[in-house]
């Protein structure tokens, strides 16, 4: 399933867009012009990576500064220990689309517990 995000023209380089699906996805437009998407929720706690600091192909979490690689989802140092999922991005006719990964997300324990009641933990 492809989900429309926003127009590429509306997402300047260096900026991020939070797609409010469950769980949310962060779409980044890097300074180099790439568009990449990862899970928006940090795997450590309930922070939005779209609020983080983008540098090259890495985003630093706004709360405790673990850095995630936008291409692989890998995390560099604690406190986060698990990677985030990456999602396929397609830009078609000036519009950004995301195809959400089918892997299970690595949601932080507190968020997983909250969602546990309704959706998949």
């Amino acid at each position: 399933m492809m989900i429309p995000v926003c127009r590429l023209a509306d997402l300047p380089r260096g900026e991020a867009y939070r797609l409010d699906i469950e769980p949310p996805v962060a779409v980044f437009h890097t300074e180099d012009g790439e568009v990449l998407a990862i899970d928006d929720t940090c795997t450590h706690q309930d922070a939005s990576l779209a609020d983080g600091w983008l540098e090259g192909c890495e985003v630093e979490c706004p709360l405790h500064a673990s850095k995630f690689d936008l291409r692989t989802g890998a995390v560099d140092a604690p406190p986060a220990k698990l990677p985030v999922r990456t999602h396929q991005v397609v830009v078609d006719d000036g519009m950004i689309y995301v195809r959400p990964s089918e892997a299970a997300p690595n949601l932080p324990p507190c968020v997983a517990a909250r969602l546990g009641a309704g959706g998949p933990a």
Binding site: Q45, A47, S48, D51, G52, W53, E60, P62, L63, H64, A65, A77, P78, P79, K81, P109, C110, A113
Partner: protein, 384 residues
């Protein structure tokens, strides 16, 4: 260098061990820790762990399968350091000779004299402390927190969310005035009142009452505050007694340079026990924050591996966060010495704002409440 001993197996010790391997050290690496546990994360102890939202496995600092090729001596305390052959004495009688030593023994919670042996009185520093306090809070009732600093405020916030009746007692007229200044300390500590947690300021604690179990906190003005459980959150002292007489200079922790070098060659200090020279302020400071304990060991290890022949870089300004009553509090820089504080974004009464501290017009610190995005941008500007 053939053997490096890291004393203290928590965040700063683990970060030093990681930095050693990352910087190419492939010799013998020994980590000594007096707690029986593998390195775990302390910030959740007053927050998610105390609230029961995360378990012990979630606290682990090591990644699954992480292997530093180190020997772990856990559950054993270092009792001395001999400068002659640079060896560490252990409580079980062993000694460990090392070419390099990293001191990472952190800090321990201060206690109230006279409260020993009284059930229901807690401090919060270790996993074992947190387990005991969590069980106690599960009984509900009246909690009195002595000390309105960050740990005390977080415990109050967590206990309030668990449904306890909470009172916080603070000796200073305004809580958090030390780290945040009067104005902002007042605004942040107003979170207590927002949630119906009583905050008694400007009054000291005379003692505790109770036979076997505490039943009240006695104040210096004669009042008595009934309590089923008491948490003493009056700060921490550096764990450096074991270094007395070793030749390592001590003064409010281990006196060291910006890069952790101590008065003894081949010995560096990192984390909460290190009282390091900060070129920003021209004085020594001991910072008890997570991020410093994570980041600063890399510089100390570089100094150790280069036998001191490195230039100490300029350290990043201290950063910390706190979570209280669902509000994210973040702070970077040095509030002391600021001559103005202005709210640049948001509103203090909404508990969502960003405030900038300035000295002669130059920003020296930033406080954010529920402003992670904007705060991060300011923090980056600071460290650039």
């Amino acid at each position: 260098m053939r053997t490096v001993a890291v004393v203290g197996a928590s965040l700063a010790g683990l970060s030093a061990a990681r930095a050693l391997r990352k910087q190419g050290y492939d010799g013998r690496l020994v980590l000594i820790g007096d707690e029986p546990h593998r390195p775990y994360d302390r910030p959740p102890l007053s927050k998610e762990f105390l609230a029961g939202r995360v378990g012990e496995a979630d606290l682990a600092l090591e990644a699954d399968g992480e292997d530093l090729g180190a020997e772990w001596l856990l559950g054993v305390r270092a009792t001395g350091l001999d400068r002659a052959d640079r060896s560490v004495r252990l409580a079980d009688g062993r000694t460990l000779r090392a070419d390099g030593i990293v001191i990472a023994t952190g800090a321990a919670a201060r206690t109230l004299p006279g409260s020993e042996g009284l059930a229901g009185v807690h401090t919060l520093r270790t996993l074992d402390d947190a387990r005991a306090l969590r069980d106690e809070l599960a009984r509900g009732g009246r909690l009195v927190v002595i000390g309105g600093g960050f740990i005390g405020a977080e415990v109050a916030s967590t206990a309030y969310a668990l449904g306890l009746d909470v009172t916080v007692i603070e000796a200073a007229p305004t809580p958090l005035a030390g780290p945040l200044g009067e104005a902002m300390g007042g605004i942040v500590s107003a979170l207590h009142a927002d949630h119906g947690v009583r905050l008694l300021c400007g009054v000291g604690v005379k003692g505790l009452s109770g036979e076997r179990r505490v039943d009240a906190v006695l104040l210096e003005d004669g009042r008595s505050v009934p309590a089923d459980t008491v948490v003493v959150g009056v700060g921490a002292r550096p764990c450096v007694e074991w270094l007395e007489g070793s030749g390592v200079a001590l003064d409010n922790g281990v006196t060291c340079g910006a890069d952790g070098r101590t008065s003894l060659a081949g010995v560096v200090a990192v984390g909460d026990c290190a009282n390091w020279y900060d070129p920003h302020t021209g004085s020594h400071r001991r910072v008890e924050h997570w991020t410093g304990a994570l980041e600063r060991p890399a510089a100390a290890v570089a100094t150790l591996l280069a036998h001191g022949a490195t230039e100490p870089g300029v350290p990043r300004p201290p950063y910390f966060w706190s979570d209280q009553y669902g509000v994210k509090i973040q702070f970077v820089g040095h509030a002391a010495g600021a001559d103005s504080v202005t709210v640049e974004e948001g509103a203090t009464d909404e508990r969502s704002f960003l405030a900038v501290y300035r000295r002669a017009g130059t920003p020296v610190a930033v406080l954010g409440m529920n402003q992670p995005r904007l705060f991060t941008r300011w923090r980056k500007q600071f460290t650039a």
